[in-house]
Structure formats: structure tokens, C-alpha cells
Symmetry: C2
Subunit: 208 residues, 2 copies
Amino acid sequence: MLITELAETTGTPSATIKYYVREGLLPAGERLNGNRTEYGDAHIHRLRLIRSMLEVGHLSVSSVAQVLAALDDPDAPIAHTFDVAQQALSRAAVPDVSEPTSASIARIDALIGRAGWTGCEDNVGTEIAARVLDAFVHAGYPLPDSYLDAYASAARLAADADLAAVAALPDPSRMAELMVIGTVLGDSLALGLRRIAQAAATSERRLS
Amino acid sequence: MLITELAETTGTPSATIKYYVREGLLPAGERLNGNRTEYGDAHIHRLRLIRSMLEVGHLSVSSVAQVLAALDDPDAPIAHTFDVAQQALSRAAVPDVSEPTSASIARIDALIGRAGWTGCEDNVGTEIAARVLDAFVHAGYPLPDSYLDAYASAARLAADADLAAVAALPDPSRMAELMVIGTVLGDSLALGLRRIAQAAATSERRLS
């Protein structure tokens, strides 16, 4: 298809498509005679992936480029692709406050120990969670371990669902892509459902 | 204390403190002789709350003003305060895409039915979650019900922990405040722990 059709199909202006090609997010189309360039289904698919990272994940264009480079590297193991995506997708989410205290880092490490999780050392999530603990203390509401353990159980339920969905896919490139998409979109899904569940729990406890 | 001490204690520049007072986020201090104004512990507490909403929740100043007005209304039931906070705290999180499809709204309603949740009609979370479902379809990865149900169970675990923490507090004004703080900070805590749990689940499934 020509760029006008690609633009119409994906709801992305032609100028934006050309910008993504220049920035290396999208492969160039096949040059036909004269000024005409042919695009295929792979371009539609890639454009939708780019837009979900930008619009739902609120990633920068340079972060999207990093994630796509990891997805396109045929030698990268899935865990590496996932790690790059996690880092890129978390930068926007890191609370804009000072470094986490070592006491809060130690509490998250202890939480990981109680949960029996392994292979997650130096994960970007530890810094995020530790900063949140500090912010709760700062606000005058230090969190008990029971609260952290409930949130850890919730996180594990979601992560197991993510991994089950990924494992059900037939080929590694789609698995890596779903890990990336699932990380972007899953944060928003978890947030939306948490709002609904809070309203239900509030209503049941008759706090209204 | 004088404004210089309030600034030092809370790490907030004096000019910013004055700006919050002008915008109605922070009550004015008590005017002493001449140009000196006295601030108290309530100012420290309120400043920390404002900064966690701005820096961790990434709320706009006008959204913070709305939440604080709801917190300060002595006649507002806790559920109302919570509702205002949920709306304000969710606006930044809503995926920047088109309106959700009615099919996805219906799927979230069906999910709520399967979970047996009540009192959560018209919650802002339904629109957020429905948009996410659409985005997954758009990206070529429609979600099965089993995935949604796992995320709903996770959301409920977190919400029950939130409500237990709130119910343990002695007075209604602190309860409402923790609901607000917990909604802001809890999103980031859930996100951080989800990253760690995904890494652990990936490692255990030997996808690395």
C-alpha cells in the first residue's frame, strides 16, 4: 500500500510516519518508480506497536527506539529484550523524588526473600518500590509488612498471568513483543482495575 | 516556625511555598509583627502531601487543589473524598487514545460481574481498563478472560490491603487522607513490585 493508505489504516499522519522512518523506529518502505513507496502489513503492525508505547506507555521516542532495537535483535534472548523494555518503560514511572533510603531498599529485599522470588536482583522495580516506601513514611503513613506482602502477592498473580500469555504464543519474536506490550498496557490495566476494586471494597465496608 | 525553616524542613523553596498559598493549596501562616509569618506542623504535613501528589502522582496543581478541597470538606463522606481523588489521580493515567469501544466496556462489566463486585458502577477505572483492552486488540494480542480475571484478583488483593490500612486509623480525616495518599503512591508501588515479580516469574520459567 502507499503511505496515504498506511496513514488511513493506522490513523497516523503521513508526516508522522516519515518521521518514524527517519528516527529508525519504522523500516523504510520499498521504493517503487518515481516518488512512490510501498508499505506492507509489517508496517501496520509496527506502527500500532509504536503508538501504544507512545500513547499508552507515555514513552519518549528515544525510549521506543531502544525497545524496538532490542525486539529486532535476532540474537537477544527474550529475558534481555524484556529487561530493556522494563528499564525503558519504568523511567517515566519513577517517582520524581530523591534517591531511595537504604532502609527501604532493605525492606524490599526482605519482601523478595519472604516471597521466595529469585532471579530478580537489581531489578528497576526495587528502586521504584523503595522510593514509594520512603514517600509513605514522609507523608506520615509508614506501611506495615502485611501491606507490602499483599501487594507482592497481587504483583505475582499479575506476573504469572503475563508469563502464561507469553508462553502460549508460538514463536519467540511474538513472545518478546507481547512481553513489551504487556508491560506497557498491563500497568494501565492494573491501575484501572485497582480503581474499580477499591470502589467495590469501599462500598462493601460501608465507608460511603 | 518562619518560612525559611518550613522551607528547609520540607525541602520546598520559599517561593514555591508562597505559590501554594496563593493557589489555595496551603493555608496562609499566622501573620506576626511586620513581615514575619508563623507556620506550624500542619503546614509541614500538608506540604508533604502536596509534594507526594505532584512528584509521585504527577498531578497538576489544579487537580491537587480539587483533592485537597475534598479532604478539607468536613461534611464530605469518605467515599466522596475518595471518588474525587480517584478521578483526579486517574486523569494522568488514562491512555491517550480514542474512546473505548462498547464491546470492551461490556467485557469489563462482565468481569465485575464474575468477580461479584458491587457499588463500583460508573467508576473511572472501567473506562481506563476498556481502553487498555482495545489497545491489546489493536496491537494484535486480544486478552483472554482468564488474563482479566487474574488481574482482577490481583487488584482486589491490593484494594483489600488499602482498605484494611485505612480502617485501622483512628479518625475519619486521617482515613480520607490515607485513601488519597494510598491511591497516588499505591499505583507506583504496584508498578514497581510488578516489575520485580515479572523478572522472578521469567527467571523461574527459564525464558532467559
